[in-house]
Symmetry: C2
Subunit: 300 residues, 2 copies
C-alpha cells in the first residue's frame, strides 16, 4: 500500500569527531523514504532548489520512490544543514542552517498523493502539517513527527494536530518538553491522552518506547559498534516503521510492534555510515538477518 | 547455593526533587543482599559502627541474609552517604560522604563465607576486593563491581583484578572511562578482552548490556512510571542477577540472560520507593508477574 511522506529534503554537511562530509543527501523526508522503500512504494512530497543534484532524485527513484511531488524552485536553493557531533555521538550542535526554499514550502499534493491511505508528516512547521492533512481526506493512518522548535512556537497548533492524527513520533527530550514530565513513561502516557491513539518516543542509542491505551513497552536499539553518523536515525526509524505498516496494510498492536522493530533495525544500519551510504549497500535480506539476531537477543 | 557479598553497609540521606529521607538503610551490600534474597540464601560481609540500628540487621536476617560477617566496630560510626537527585532523576550529586568505619574495612571472612561458590565483590577499593578474593579459593563464579574513583586511583590493581574474576558489572560512564571508548558496544567488548569472561554495563533507565566472547546483547529496563528514588538500583540489579545464578547453581549463557532479566526487574521495584521500602512489600510472585509482562513486552 503506497505511503506518503511530506517533509524536508536537504543537503547536509556533517562533522563527526573523526571525519567530515559536505553537501550529502539528507532531510527528514529523504531518510524516511529510503528507509520505507525496503517495504513499500513511497510518494515523497518536498521542495528543493536548482542546486539539487539530479542524481539524488534518481537514487530515490531507483528505490521505487515516486518523486512527482518533489517541487523544484527555479532560482532557489535547497535547504542546507550543517551539524557537528560531539565525542560521544549522542549530542550534536547545529553549526549553520539555511532553510532556503523550505522556508516558503507550501505543499500542494498531486492527486495520487491525496489518495494515500498511509501518511507520515515529517518534522516541520505544524501549520504546514495541518495543510497537508487537509488534503488527505482518505488517510487511514496518519503519523506525525515534531520537534522542540514547534513545541515552543506552535504549541496550540500542535495540540490541535494531536487530535487529528493517529500516532505521534518524537524523541525523548521533545517528549519531556511537550508533557512537562521528566519521567519518559509518564510523559508518553500524558501525550497519548492529548489525542493520538499511540505515541512513540525515540531514545536514540537506547531504542524506542511505545504507548497506547492498552500497552506501554520499550524495545532496545540494536547494539551496533559502528556508529559513524547518527544523522537521520530517527527519520529512518519512522520510515522503517511506517513502511512496514503500509506493506502490511495494517496497524493492529501486533503489527505495530513488528513495525517498531523494523524501524529500529533500519536505523541501526543508517548510523553505520554517512548519509544514506550504508542503506545503499543493504537489501531487505540484510534487514531480515538482523531481525533474526534481534529476536534472538530479546528471547530468553 | 549460598551467595557471598562483600561491600558497603550504610545509612543514607536521600533528597529527591519532591522529598527527603534521613538515615535510611543503604549501602551496596545491603541492596545486593536484599535483592538476592528472593532467590537464594545470602552471606553478607561488611562493617558498621555502634550507631547501626539493630532493627536493620533483623530486617536482613528476616529475609534469610546471614549477617555473621557484619562486623560492628565499637565506638565507630557507620558509613554515611548524603545524595541529591536532579529533576530528571538520572543525575545526582553527593552532598556529603563520611566513610567512617568503612575507611578501615579489612574483611576477614568467616569460614562459611570462605567456602562460598558464588561471590560478589561490591563496589569498594580494588585492594580490598583482591583481599577478599584471596580468601575465596573455592569460588566458582566471582563477579565484581567498580566505579570511577577506583578506575582513576587503582587502575593497575583493577586491571589485575579483571584477570582474576569471571564477570564485571559497572555503569555506562564507568565503562566508557575504563575502555577509553565512547561507544558502549565497543567499550564492553574492550573491557571483556581485559580479562573477565563477561561484562555487564548498567544503563539505568535504559536497561543493561551483556558482553561475552560469543554474545553481545541489550535488555531494556522495565518501564515503570513510578521512579521515586533510584538509589541502589545498580546494586539491586547485581543482587537479582547473582541471586538467580546462585539459585540455579549455573552460569551458562541462557541462565545468565535470565539472570540479567531478573536483575532488571528487581531494580525496577527498588526505584519505586526510598531505600528498601518497595522491596519490603513485594514477594517472589510479584517478580514473576512482572517477568511475565516483561517477556510479553519483548516478544513480537
Amino acid at each position: 500500500m503506497p505511503l506518503l511522506v511530506v517533509g524536508s529534503v536537504a543537503l547536509d554537511t556533517i562533522e563527526t569527531p573523526t571525519s567530515k562530509r559536505e553537501n550529502v543527501l539528507g532531510g527528514s523526508a529523504v531518510y524516511f523514504s529510503y528507509a520505507a522503500s525496503y517495504f513499500t512504494p513511497v510518494r515523497l512530497v518536498g521542495v528543493v532548489g536548482e542546486d539539487w543534484p539530479a542524481e539524488y532524485t534518481k537514487l530515490l527513484q531507483d528505490r521505487g520512490v515516486d518523486t512527482q511531488g518533489l517541487q523544484v524552485v527555479r532560482g532557489g536553493k535547497t535547504f542546507r544543514w550543517h551539524g557537528r557531533y560531539f565525542a560521544d555521538m549522542n549530542q550534536r550542535e547545529t553549526v549553520q542552517v539555511h532553510l532556503n526554499v523550505f522556508e516558503q514550502f507550501d505543499p500542494v499534493l498531486p492527486d495520487e498523493c491525496r489518495r494515500a491511505r498511509f501518511v507520515f508528516l515529517a518534522n516541520g512547521p505544524v501549520t504546514i502539517q495541518h495543510k497537508v492533512l487537509d488534503q488527505c481526506a482518505g488517510a487511514e493512518l496518519v503519523v506525525a513527527d515534531t520537534m522542540e522548535l514547534w513545541i515552543n512556537t506552535q504549541r496550540r497548533e500542535l495540540e490541535h494536530l494531536l487530535t487529528r492524527i493517529d500516532g505521534l513520533v518524537m524523541n525523548d527530550s521533545e517528549a519531556r518538553l511537550l508533557a512537562g514530565d521528566e519521567n519518559l513513561v509518564r510523559a508518553g502516557q500524558k501525550i497519548r491522552q492529548m489525542g493520538p491513539r499511540f505515541v512513540v518516543i525515540k531514545k536514540g542509542e537506547h531504542g524506542a518506547m511505545f504507548f497506547s491505551k492498552y500497552e506501554t513497552y520499550v524495545l532496545p536499539a540494536y547494539p551496533t559498534p559502528d556508529v559513524v553518523d547518527p544523522t537521520g536515525a530517527g527519520d529512518s526509524f519512522a520510515g522503517g516503521m511506517m513502511g512496514y505498516l503500509a506493506m502490511r496494510g495494517a496497524f493492529d498492536p501486533r503489527t505495530l510492534k513488528e513495525a517498531m522493530a523494523y524501524g529500529i533495525l533500519v536505523a541501526s544500519f543508517t548510523v553505520e555510515d554517512f548519509s544514506l551510504d550504508r542503506l545503499l549497500r543493504i537489501r531487505r535480506e540484510d534487514l531480515e538477518q538482523r531481525m533474526e539476531e534481534y529476536k534472538r537477543m530479546l528471547s530468553f
